[in-house]
Amino acid sequence: MSEFDKFWIEDYPDLGTDPVSTEPCISPDYYRLEQERLFSKVWLKVGQDEDIPKPGDFFVKDIACCNASVIVVRGVDGVVRAFHNVCSHRGNKLVWDNTSEGATNAFRCRFHGWSYGTDGRLIAVPDEKMFYGLKRADCGLTPVAADSWEGFIFINLDPHPAENLKEYLGEMGDHLGGFPYRDFPTRYIYRAELNANWKVCLDAFSEAYHVVFIHQQTVGAINITKENPMHHPLSVRLYRRHRSAVVQGNPDFKPTPTGAIASRFGLTSMERGRGMETLPPHINPERRNDFNFDLNVIFPSFLIHVRPGEYFTHQFWPLGPGRTLWEGINYLPAARNAGERFSQEYSHLMRRNAWLEDTSTMEATYAGLKTGALRHFMLSDPEILVRHGYKVLEDQVGFYRDRARGDRTDG
């Protein structure tokens, strides 16, 4: 057996090998439980320190699946806090600004003029004397738990989160910690709204079985090696909720004429074998030259992929049981000259093209599942991250647990 044909299930036998139900992708009841027990209970990445570098900087993040709108603000004391974007007086939306970001000393409700400091305290109430014993200290903005890790800001909509962010990230925090994220301040950001369940989108980015087919003309040749023709993962690590795999690259890839020129001016996404020394010791620890990237899924739907000279992320926000906001970001160093900027443009456009190929399957897959024709997914061993995803999702959501107990919401 070749080193590439390992069955990773042997390391994680508890996952089982049965086909996996398609029901979580199409059941409105499953989605309702995800809203109630998943997205409103776990830590969700909403931004980065660099988004709000100065005291008073803020942005608003709407989390549609939880009917939430959250203000994330850096206080005058430098501390990042989050609050529901809801005035404590009559419940009006506090920040209406179209761009939903800016800098301020105070948030003032446009309905009756109540004002709040960047720390959430109620600081002014017009005509305050006409209230009946109003205590300002009791009427601050409703806080939302916020914390940061490696410059990524996370929030948790649970008023009493079961774990802090460090505990939540657990081993994944250790695995991905220490990557020099701050060295890559330039972002190339794409968004698309997709008519698909969020897990259909997530799953498409959680395995490399599709690369041989969907990416044949873009990133196929650069990743697939003679020795590993079906592009099996080089390693797999499954944690309590999060998951990780190493995706192979082809170090013998012959660049296109444009790719070769782009590489002379910068380290592009279309290169293999260069820059391994820039990785922290536990990423590609053997410094294999056929390492492409470390694929990481932070539960439930935030992906951080790291490789030499860059990293890139995906995030999937449910907008409904059959609609998802996808955001993909390429993070690169600040370009110092035209050559580096050109190299980045080529690099991120090659990835954009691959992402366009990826997104092309999602709506059709979801439409196919919605027909009800398919009750189960047959998942291969290299798709083990997908299998793990459904397992840990059910651990959190408990849809089948409830069903086994005979619980019925409809009586």
Partner: protein
Amino acid sequence: MADARLPSGFSDLDGFADWALPTEAARAQRRRDSTLDDIRKFYDAMLPRLMATLDYLNGFPLDRMPEPERRLFDLSLAFAEIAPFVEQYGRTILPENFDERRFVPVRDNPTTGAR
């Protein structure tokens, strides 16, 4: 047109100066609106000049280029947009059926962290 000129050393590319569009969205739209023959002509003319173009532009500050140099720079970014469609796809749009216009570059890429 006098206001669409490239730097004097690159006047051989003047015929393609209308590709020098300032945003990724505009360059991608131009690619989609072109024929394969259009993008091949641009590719064939620009590829042999690409190294010289970038070496020349590296002599100017990225954020303060004079107009003709800025135009040549935008032209090189348009080349980055079309090159894979010549080198890899042999067509002007991706073979899959996802409508690229639904794929939105946010804030005219790139953004640095600072808002």
